[in-house]
Symmetry: C2
Subunit: 369 residues, 2 copies
DNA sequence: TTTTAAATTGTGTACGCACACACTTTTATA
DNA sequence: TATAAAAGTGTGTGCGTACACAATTTAAAA
């Protein structure tokens, strides 16, 4: 191992536009035009300046840049009405953090809320938004067709948008941040079945909307889950039963669970493909299924409590604050700094246990301060 | 659900120091003095200004602030000599990212390297650093006593420092970022034993330095691992054997493994408490132990390959780039922005499988761009 | 060649904060 | 009361970039 040249100094003073100008014998204005591809520069000087720029690896001072760019803009975030302690509150926190950072640019974010279980409320909100067109939109394409229609109208008006949480590949947007639902479902299965006694019953649950439809995400997670099941031939080893739970009908839910128990071998595992495991646990307890291996999603405070108490075996998390935060920052990158962005960005599938969840939550919280 | 007031506008124009000054009938300079607690302001005006400041929740424009603060400073990062594809390369990447961001402040980071397996090289580097005192130091207290001595000297000279990766509670520093080793070891055990056939043998390995000492981290991880074992009474159900592997003596390593195999029931699981599982796998393969359940640490590229190929069951990761990055940012917070910092910051214990590792790696990479 | 238009280049100011310095008022000292 | 010191307050400039606009040069048209 060579440790002789142990000290790798780099005392090069930061160069400024004025320095580049002097080095190339032009004025700062000309360099500026080259930097921003604004034309109005002779080929000869442009080339000369470009050469110097990447020869000395010139990068403008971001602070000065940010300061002088004043873009009075209005972003709109269209998200499900946040309930305290619910999933969307986390995403909103991330958006709020980004908002705080970019407010110095003169950018403002307005929230529009809709009812997650009511397509109409979504459509109405989109119309309201379009009636006073903002400079950019952040939303989640939960309702696929309505979202596509909305995106189309935004495109017509040349209003860029970003997608958060849920993805629809066909929607053109600046960026999407969210979890790879299929893989997160696959992972749920992997965690659930590892070490689970054979010939037992596993209950898959989805929280459905009163209308009867499961969410985009939940459907894909289940698909990923079943992919694992089939890849490992588990249908022969386990009794896999799916039931839909309806948030507003406890009696029916309990009946469904009791039905499963009556007509199958002992239940050894359960999973829910939406964010309220703590609620599933409550139901399981009521029918005498406390203590079975259970897996759920998202680090909601009540989920975390259930995890630490041992009622939930694993939580699969997806950094919602990060999603909200990054989605706004991508918009900034696109609109203000005019840098290229990636369309599809997957957030990691985070596996949490009762022992490590505290650090996870605290870390995220501090990052989002 | 109330969606009537669906639009939560916030059009309040950002206030500037000059605005605060006008609102309180003083000059900008006076407001500035209050903002920075620089005294030289009459009690009467100070109170008035303070009232207004938090009444309107005034926050200085960060861009202007950053631009006008010019702190020509020199930070020193003292880390193990990075080998390509090794763990410390990731930490260095994080530090480098922070460096890029803060270079606009006029801050420069110099690297000093030492040999991870040679205490003397560490001590020599610390002496070299102290002979040209920097404004702050980043290092990892791998060698406990020598690090404490170094920290003491830094404190004498009033040079703040931050710790990365490894922690020594008694060292006073601005901040520490790293993983909770005990919990990560505990988690490794949890993952390894879940579903593992009883009465089989489990091999714990540590990569030891030629001198014979295991690293700080490795020792604590093992402790956490054994804590899980004891809490679940697994010593009765499994044969748990520990062996030390020495990087420069393959023959000896293979002999040790063969010994274990000869004198115990079939080996069903293995874990290594340092970052090179891929290397452990190579050894396992050589003695005919391919295919057993194996757990290792860190998302080194070769580890990731082994994970995706199915040779490693789980990797436990710790966001090294994030550690390097955040540690520098904390220094900045302390020295430049004079904001309070947290002493001990745990990075999450990330559990990776072959299916989800790609998204994890790519996400980290993009964050670090 | 003169006039006009187009292309190219330079200059100056705003962005909002931090800080040095100058200036004014009050208080202490002779 | 005069003088010095201290306390309090205001003004001005620099940080580096972006961009509008003025100034200059070159090309095109008359």
């Amino acid at each position: 191992m060579d440790l002789t040249n142990t000290c790798n100094s780099e005392h090069r003073q930061r160069l400024r536009i004025a320095d580049i100008a002097r080095m190339t014998g032009v004025s700062a204005g000309t360099v500026d035009r080259v930097l921003h591809n604004r034309g109005r520069v002779s080929d000869e000087k442009r080339k000369k300046i470009e050469t110097v720029i990447d020869q000395v690896d010139f990068r403008p001072n971001v602070f000065a840049r940010s300061l002088s760019i004043k873009k009075e803009m209005r972003f709109v975030a269209l998200i499900p009405a946040v309930e305290a302690g619910g999933y969307w509150e986390y995403i909103k926190n991330g958006i709020d953090k980004a908002q705080r950072e970019i407010s110095d640019h003169g950018i403002v974010i307005e929230y529009y809320y809709y009812d997650q279980y009511d397509t109409q409320s979504f459509v109405m909100a989109t119309e309201q938004i379009l009636s006073t067109p903002p400079d950019a939109v952040i939303f989640s394409p939960e309702f696929i067709e309505e979202s596509a229609a909305f995106a189309g109208k935004l495109e017509q008006k040349n209003i860029p948008c970003v997608l958060v949480d849920s993805n629809v590949e066909t929607i053109p947007c600046v960026a999407y941040y969210g979890q790879h639902s299929l893989k997160s479902g696959y992972t749920a299965a992997q965690l659930l079945f590892t070490g689970l006694p054979q010939n037992s019953t596993v209950v898959l649950t989805r929280a459905v909307r009163p209308g009867g439809a499961a969410s985009n995400q939940a459907i894909r997670r289940e698909k990923g889950f079943m992919q694992y099941v089939d890849e490992h031939n588990l249908r022969r080893k386990y009794h896999i039963v799916r039931i839909d739970l309806c948030s507003n009908n406890t009696t029916k839910n309990l009946r469904a669970l009791r039905n499963v128990m009556a007509s199958h071998p002992p239940v050894a595992g359960a999973v829910i493909f939406s964010s309220k495991v703590y609620w599933l646990i409550e139901n399981l307890v009521k029918v005498g299924l406390a203590g079975i291996k259970t897996i759920g999603y998202d680090e909601l405070q009540r989920n975390v409590e259930a995890l630490k108490a041992g009622h939930v075996s694993y939580l699969i998390a997806q950094r919602p604050e990060m999603q909200g935060y990054l989605v706004v920052k991508e918009l900034l990158k696109h609109l203000v700094y005019k840098q290229p962005t990636h369309r599809t960005n997957y957030v990691p599938v985070d596996i949490l246990t009762g022992e490590i969840v505290d650090e996870y939550v605290q870390f995220n919280r501090r990052l989002n301060e």
